[in-house]
């Protein structure tokens, strides 16, 4: 009661009325402010950086600070020249290097995603079906590696995989092999690194979906004489699709642009787009082409995902 009186008093207060009136005039209410915050966030940390990169990607390279030509030139008092150069994008098509790097990145990322799913699904399933006290402990163990720096964890794999490393030394001491198996600086090491690093991103969304699942459906299936395997295939798996999609995206998208893992664990011939981008930026000092590579990657990745989401949204609408 007291609160309501207080609110009424505040509403009657002159400056408040004035301010809220002004805000309403601009179309800002409490509701729009709450919705607007994420938009503001996206504009600040996604849209503006994106526009800056887009701008650099259509400029010309030069020797100077910054190392690209400004887009707008003031020629005379009222004459402004706008310079847009699409040559940087055309350049990406001229050399097969870029296409191959994109393709290879997508292949490696897709492979890692599938591996993450194969390893992560049983893990998430197991965690979701254990007793609640165990569940928290197991979830904790999935998240615990995040407490150590990502870079340190990738470096640790160097110590495990190298010729003079843990695995080879143990195998040689046991007499299983005479010569060390070369694992570091191979594609195998890249897959190990990516799957290891991104596994929690697969396990957590899968766990969230599996945990919410209605278990009585499985009981009903069992009562009606359905074999557990068939029940899993026809009930659990389809119901966990949202988790599979979310987890796969969380693994696939960062894996495509991955730079650190292939650089540290991969062989010299691992050609991934993150590395190509790094070289354009640092070795060639060509900010415009580097930006064009980044924008092309974004379009290549975000495009299909947006189409997918649009279709899903339409399907969801049709079901209703």
């Amino acid at each position: 009661m007291l609160l309501a009186e207080l609110m009424a008093w505040i509403r009657a207060f002159g400056p408040y009325r004035w301010a809220s009136h002004r805000l309403l005039n601009w179309g800002i209410t409490g509701r729009t402010a709450v919705i607007g915050l994420p938009y503001l966030w996206l504009i600040l940390f996604f849209l503006i950086p994106f526009i800056i990169v887009l701008k650099i990607s259509v400029s010309d390279i030069r020797l100077g600070m910054p190392p690209y030509e400004p887009m707008v030139h003031w020629i005379e008092h009222q004459v402004v020249a706008l310079q847009i150069n699409f040559g940087n994008y055309a350049f990406l098509f001229k050399d097969a290097l870029y296409r191959n790097a994109y393709m290879n990145s997508i292949l490696v990322a897709a492979g890692s995603t599938v591996l993450c799913l194969l390893v992560g699904y049983p893990m998430a399933y197991g965690i979701a079906r254990t007793s609640p006290s165990w569940r928290n402990l197991l979830l904790m163990m999935v998240m615990l590696p995040f407490w150590t720096s990502f870079l340190l964890r990738v470096y640790a794999w160097i110590g495990i995989l190298k010729n003079n490393g843990l695995i080879n030394n143990v195998l040689m001491a046991m007499g299983v092999i005479d010569e060390p198996i070369v694992m570091l600086q191979t594609d195998f090491a890249v897959y190990v690194g990516i799957v290891y690093s991104y596994l929690p991103f697969m396990v957590l969304p899968l766990y969230a979906t599996l945990e919410k699942m209605d278990l009585t459906l499985l009981e009903a299936a069992a009562d009606l004489g359905c074999h557990p395997t068939k029940a899993f295939m026809t009930i659990t798996l389809p119901l966990s699709v949202p988790g599979i999609v979310a987890g796969s995206m969380l693994v696939f998208i960062p894996a495509v642009g991955e730079f650190v893992i292939p650089a540290l664990l991969g062989g010299p011939d691992s050609l991934m787009i993150g590395r190509v981008l790094w070289e354009e930026f640092f070795h060639n000092r060509d900010w415009p082409v580097a930006s064009a590579v980044a924008i092309a990657m974004l379009i290549l990745l975000v495009g299909p995902i947006m189409i997918l989401q649009y279709n899903q949204g339409r399907q969801a609408g049709a079901h209703r």
Binding site: W26, M65, P66, P67, N100, P268, L271
Partner: protein, 377 residues
């Protein structure tokens, strides 16, 4: 309109806040240029590239607080410098990078009146670096070294039947490279350094910027490519030191660091360094002051301090790199001063070639050729 103006202000305010977070204890900027500088200096140097007491002594002498920050590649430094407003007062690029950065207008001309210790510098070194910095206007040499071959004598003995390497043919001759494959050949992941070294082996001018020569160099490296374990610019220090690899095309000081680490190891590993008889690339790291440095006076004081013979001699002792300060030579530890891999003999020195800055076009060609070498694409 007002709405746009307001959100613009907000964005600007946030940008300032974000930029403020990025800088490490830079302190408040002095109000105007004529006011005396605050006692702060921001130095950006290579990692493991200074003596333990250099900074502490400078702070004690001058009362200037030094914020010391490190990098490990010229490319990273250059990218920061070209983006501008780094907040650094003294940076240490290699001369070939500095050459291009000067053209881009990154550095201020040094005020020679504030650098009385310039008289200590070695005229021969000053002349060599003037190739990069005409008239020595923008920079002062810090330390210098060469790009040669680091190796493990025992393992090379087992593979090739000799424990001394004196020629680039050890790496660039496919017959030798094939024999060394199993014990491990490694190269810098630096196109300029490797192509230049290959050109020197082929008896060609490393600075010709000729497409034909570049093709010859990359063809040569393609032939030994199957025997190279990896291309990386710092990993080889550790791997040489623990015997993981046996031959590395790398930087002199890094290899001497591997030597020191290998000797300290539980099971000591021998590491040796050779400047091949065909010649090698010589490089210089230079002290320079960015044009937008917030504390240029302090920066000059620091550069002058580094040129004091006792100070730079202490640094050379500690990091095993040669310096360009003639007056300091007698003060350097005898073991370092007489080590021909730190201070090469005059005959060897006459075969050291500078690596000049490349044009943008050649740089792209050379980097593209490098990607082909590295990935086969």
């Amino acid at each position: 309109m007002r709405n746009i103006y307001k959100s613009g202000l907000l964005v600007a305010a946030l940008a300032v806040a974000v930029a403020g977070c990025g800088k490490k204890e830079e302190g408040e900027k002095a109000a105007g240029p004529p006011a005396p500088e605050e006692k702060i200096l921001n130095v950006y140097n290579w990692s493991d590239y200074i003596a333990e007491d250099t900074i502490a002594n400078f702070e004690q002498q001058t009362g200037i607080k030094v914020n010391y920050d490190v990098f490990d590649s010229n490319e990273v430094l250059e990218t920061k410098l070209l983006a501008g407003k780094t907040g650094y007062d003294v940076v240490v690029p290699s001369a070939s990078f500095l050459e291009r950065q000067i053209k881009a207008g990154v550095f201020m001309a040094l005020d020679q009146a504030k650098l009385p210790n310039l008289v200590n510098m070695d005229p021969e070194i000053m002349q060599r670096v003037a190739l990069h910095d005409p008239g020595n206007e923008h920079s002062v040499p810090y330390l210098w070294g060469t790009t040669g071959i680091g190796y493990n004598p025992e393992k090379v003995m087992a593979a090739l039947g000799t424990d001394t390497i004196d020629s680039w043919s050890t790496i660039f001759d496919p017959a030798n490279a094939a024999k060394l494959k199993d014990c491990g050949i490694v190269m810098l992941d630096a196109p300029t350094e490797v192509f230049d070294s290959a050109l020197i082996y082929l008896g060609k001018d490393p600075n010709s910027e000729s497409e034909e020569d570049l093709k010859a160099a990359s063809d040569l490296i393609m032939k030994i490519r199957p025997y190279v374990r990896y291309f990386h610019s710092s990993q080889y220090i550790n791997d040489l030191a623990n015997g993981e690899i046996c031959v590395a095309l790398g930087w002199s000081g890094d290899i001497l660091q591997a030597q020191a680490r290998g000797a300290e190891a539980e099971k000591p590993v021998n590491v040796a360094y050779a400047i091949p008889k065909e010649g090698a690339i010589i490089w210089f790291d230079m002290l320079a002051i960015p044009a937008d440095a917030p504390h240029p006076d302090n920066a000059h004081q620091f550069v002058n301090y580094i040129m004091e013979p006792a100070v730079i001699a202490g640094i050379s002792d500690y990091v095993a790199y040669a310096n360009g300060n003639a007056a300091s030579f007698e003060m350097i530890d005898e073991a370092v001063r007489t080590d021909p891999s730190v201070y090469p003999t005059p005959e060897v020195k006459s075969k050291l070639y500078p690596s000049l800055a490349e044009s943008q076009e050649y740089s792209r060609l050379s980097n593209r050729a490098w990607t082909t070498v590295r990935t086969g694409q």
